[in-house]
C-alpha cells in the first residue's frame, strides 16, 4: 500500500474508505468495499481483476460519474462528491480525461473536431484548438487522418483519437476503462505504446482498468481488485 502523505503534492487522487453498493432485488452487491487508494502524478496504473470485481465502478467513482455509497474521493484535494452536478461536470472537464471501451467519439465530427470538442467546451479559442489538436495528432501518429470521420477509422485508431481527445483539455490524469477490450493484438499494442509514450514523455498520469495480460505487463503499478476490495497493490520498474 502507498504510504504517501496527504500533503504530498504529487498525489492527485486519494480515496477514503470508498464503497459503492447496488441493490439487486433483495440482495446488496458491494461493487467496491472501503477502498483506500492514492494515485500520484505520472503514474501508469492498471486496475485489474476478474469480471465483476469492481474495476469500472472504482474508475467511475474516481471520475465522479458515480456517487459513492460511503467514503470520499479527493482529486487534487477537492472532495468531488461535495461538488454540485454543474460544478462536477466543469471539474471533470478541466481535470479528468476519459477513454471508454465503446463509443468514445462523436460520430458526426471529424477526428480533429472530436479532439477539439473538449477544448471548445472549455472555451478555448480557435487558434489554440487548432494548435493543440495538431500537436496531439502528431503525438498519436494520426496527422494524416485529421479530417476523417470516426466511422472510417479502425478500432485502434478510434481509441488513440479518444486518448488524444482526453488529453486535449490538459487534465490531471486520464481514466481509461478497458481501453483495449475491443482491439486486436496489434491495435492494442499500438494504443498501449502511445499511452506509455505519453506517460513517459509528457508525464501524463493514466489510471486504467483491464483484464488483458498484455496491458498488465506494461503497467508500472498493478492494483488488484477482488469482490470490490484491493487485494494487491504492486509497483514495477519496466
Amino acid at each position: 500500500m502507498d504510504k504517501l502523505k496527504d500533503n504530498d503534492k504529487s498525489i492527485i487522487v486519494r480515496t477514503e474508505e470508498l464503497s459503492k453498493s447496488f441493490l439487486n432485488g433483495q440482495s446488496i452487491i458491494k461493487a467496491t468495499d472501503r477502498i483506500n487508494l492514492t494515485i500520484a502524478s505520472g503514474e501508469f496504473t492498471a486496475v485489474v481483476g476478474p469480471s465483476g470485481s469492481g474495476k469500472t465502478t472504482l474508475l467511475n467513482l474516481i471520475g465522479g460519474l458515480t456517487k459513492p455509497s460511503s467514503g470520499k474521493v479527493f482529486v487534487k484535494g477537492t472532495d468531488i462528491n461535495q461538488l454540485k452536478d454543474k460544478e462536477l461536470v466543469n471539474f471533470r472537464l478541466h481535470n479528468i480525461g476519459f477513454v471508454f471501451q465503446l463509443l468514445n467519439l462523436i460520430p458526426v465530427l471529424t477526428v480533429e473536431e472530436n479532439i477539439g470538442f473538449v477544448m471548445e467546451l472549455q472555451g478555448a479559442d480557435k487558434e489554440q484548438r487548432i494548435a493543440r489538436t495538431a500537436e496531439l495528432l502528431e503525438l498519436i501518429g494520426m496527422k494524416d487522418r485529421a479530417g476523417s470521420r470516426p466511422s472510417t477509422l479502425s478500432g485502434g485508431q478510434k481509441q488513440r483519437v479518444a486518448v488524444a481527445r482526453a488529453l486535449a483539455s490538459k487534465p490531471l490524469f486520464i481514466l481509461a476503462d478497458e481501453p483495449t477490450a475491443n482491439l486486436d493484438t496489434e491495435a492494442a499494442e499500438t494504443l498501449l505504446n502511445t499511452m506509455l509514450l505519453l506517460n513517459e514523455k509528457e508525464k501524463i498520469t493514466f489510471l486504467f482498468s483491464t483484464h488483458d495480460p498484455r496491458v498488465m505487463n506494461k503497467a508500472r503499478r498493478l492494483i488488484t481488485l477482488e469482490d470490490g476490495r484491493i487485494t494487491k497493490d504492486e509497483r514495477y520498474v519496466r
Binding site: N24, L65, V89, L93, F117, A166
Partner: protein, 414 residues
C-alpha cells in the same frame, strides 16, 4: 451547438426522417382538417347570408316592432353615401318593404302579399345568385312592373304581361293603389317567400307608397365578415342608437350560429383527438430516440459537456426536425387547400341538387385562411416545444454511470 444538432440529424437520416414524418403527419392533418372545418362553416354562413339581407341591417326601432309603413326611415342620399364611404363596406342596399292586397282577373280571391322594392342594379347579382328567373326578365332601372314567385304564379294563375290590381296603405296616410304589370316570374328558394312575395324596383315602390327617400331597411354588404363589427361601430356614429336598430349577421342568423358553434365544438373535439393521436406519435418517437442515445449522452456528459448544453443541442435537434416537418406540411397542404377552396369536393343526392340549383353550400369546401396555417404551425411547434421537455428531463436525470455501463438496469444505487 446548432452545428452539432444539425450534424446529428444527418448522422441518422432514417431517425430524423421518422421524426420529421411524425411532425409532418401532425401538421398535415391538422391543417387539412382545420381548413375543411372552417371551409364548411364559412360556406354555410355565406349560404345563409345569401338568403338573408346582408351582413348588417339598419331599420328604425319602431318599424322593427310594428312593421308599419309609417315607421320606416326617411334618409337622404347624403346619409346613404356616408355609409358607402365607410371602410370595408362593399355595397349599401336600401330596401322598401311593405304589404299590399293584390287581385287578378283570373282569380276571385284577393291575396295579401309582401312587396319588396329593391335597387335592380345593385341587387341583381345578389338576388339572382339564389333566385332563378324562370320567365320574363330582370328589372332595368325605371321598370314599373313586378317579379312574382313561381308558387304565387301557380296559385293565382298569373302570366307575364298580366296586370295586377294592388291596394294598400302608403306612407303617412297616403294610399298605395295601382295597376302593375307582371314582368317576370322567379324561382325563389324559400317556399314561403316564393308564394307570398313580389319584387319591384325601389323607385317604383317609393312611388307606389308615396314614400320618397324612405326605406324600411338598409342592408350593408361588407368586404370582409371579420370587419363587420368595425363597420357596425362606425354606423352607430351615423345612426343614433335610440332611433335605429343596427343588427349584424351574427344576430340575424343566431339560430344557425348556435349549430355552427356546436359543429365548431365537435370539430374542436375531433381536432383534439387528432392532436393526441399525432402528438403521441411524435412523443413516442422522441422517447425512443432519447433512450437509444443514452450511451452517447453519457459519454458526452462524462467528457465535460454540461447537461444544459447537451439539452440545448437536443432541443435544437428537435426544433429543426419540428420546423422541417411543419414547413413541409405547409408546402404540401397549401396547394391542396387552394385547389379544394376553388373546387369543393362535391356531394351528391336529391337535396344537394336543390341546394346546388341556388348556389347554396353543396360540397365540402376548404378555407384558404393563412391564419389557420399560422395557427396550426404554432400548435404543432408548441406541441414539439412541450415534448422537448422529455429529452431535456431525460438528460437532466440521466445517471451517467448507468448509461455507460452494461450493468443491469434493475439494480438501484445505494
Amino acid at each position: 451547438m446548432m452545428k452539432l444538432a444539425w450534424l446529428n440529424l444527418q448522422r441518422n437520416p432514417s431517425r430524423a426522417l421518422l421524426t420529421i414524418l411524425s411532425v409532418f403527419i401532425a401538421a398535415f392533418f391538422s391543417i387539412i382538417f382545420g381548413s375543411v372545418k372552417n371551409g364548411i362553416l364559412n360556406s354555410s354562413t355565406e349560404s345563409i347570408l345569401k338568403l338573408s339581407g346582408g351582413d348588417i341591417e339598419i331599420r328604425s326601432k319602431s318599424y322593427s316592432t310594428s312593421r308599419f309603413i309609417d315607421d320606416i326611415m326617411q334618409i337622404d342620399s347624403a346619409m346613404l353615401d356616408s355609409i358607402s364611404r365607410l371602410q370595408y363596406v362593399k355595397r349599401v342596399l336600401p330596401v322598401l318593404q311593405s304589404y299590399l292586397l293584390i287581385s287578378h282577373s283570373s282569380s276571385t280571391s284577393t291575396k295579401a302579399v309582401s312587396i319588396i322594392g329593391i335597387d335592380p342594379e345593385s341587387e341583381k347579382d345578389r338576388i339572382l345568385t339564389v333566385t332563378e328567373m324562370v320567365e320574363g326578365h330582370w328589372f332595368s332601372k325605371y321598370d314599373k312592373g313586378v317579379i312574382v314567385g313561381e308558387n304565387m304564379r301557380e296559385e293565382l294563375g298569373l302570366k307575364v304581361g298580366d296586370t295586377l290590381a294592388v291596394m294598400g296603405m302608403g306612407y303617412h296616410g297616403a294610399g298605395a293603389v295601382g295597376l302593375i304589370p307582371i314582368q317576370g316570374v322567379a324561382r325563389i328558394p324559400v317556399a314561403a317567400v316564393d308564394k307570398n312575395t313580389m319584387f319591384m324596383t325601389l323607385s317604383a315602390a317609393q312611388e307606389l307608397f308615396q314614400a320618397e327617400d324612405c326605406y324600411s331597411e338598409i342592408y350593408i354588404i361588407s368586404e370582409r365578415l371579420d370587419k363587420v363589427d368595425l363597420i357596425k361601430s362606425q354606423i352607430k356614429k351615423i345612426f343614433p342608437s335610440d332611433e335605429y336598430e343596427i343588427r349584424d349577421w351574427k344576430s340575424l342568423i343566431e339560430d344557425f350560429l348556435f349549430y355552427f358553434r356546436l359543429a365548431d365544438a365537435f370539430g374542436f373535439i375531433i381536432m383534439l383527438f387528432l392532436y393526441i393521436l399525432v402528438g403521441s406519435n411524435i412523443l413516442g418517437t422522441i422517447i425512443l430516440t432519447s433512450k437509444e442515445r443514452k450511451l452517447e449522452f453519457s459519454v458526452l456528459i462524462s467528457v465535460g459537456m454540461s447537461r444544459n448544453k447537451l439539452s440545448k443541442s437536443l432541443f435544437y435537434e428537435l426544433m429543426i426536425v419540428a420546423l422541417l416537418g411543419v414547413i413541409l406540411a405547409v408546402i404540401v397542404t397549401l396547394p391542396i387547400v387552394y385547389f379544394f377552396t376553388i373546387h369543393p369536393i362535391p356531394l351528391f343526392g336529391e337535396d344537394i341538387a336543390t341546394l346546388k340549383q341556388f348556389s347554396i353550400y353543396s360540397g365540402i369546401y376548404m378555407s384558404l385562411d393563412f391564419t389557420l396555417f399560422i395557427k396550426q404551425f404554432l400548435i404543432v411547434i408548441g406541441m414539439c416545444l412541450a415534448f422537448a421537455a422529455y429529452p431535456i428531463s431525460f438528460i437532466q436525470h440521466l445517471k451517467v454511470d448507468e448509461g455507460l455501463s452494461k450493468r443491469d438496469a434493475n439494480e438501484d444505487n445505494l
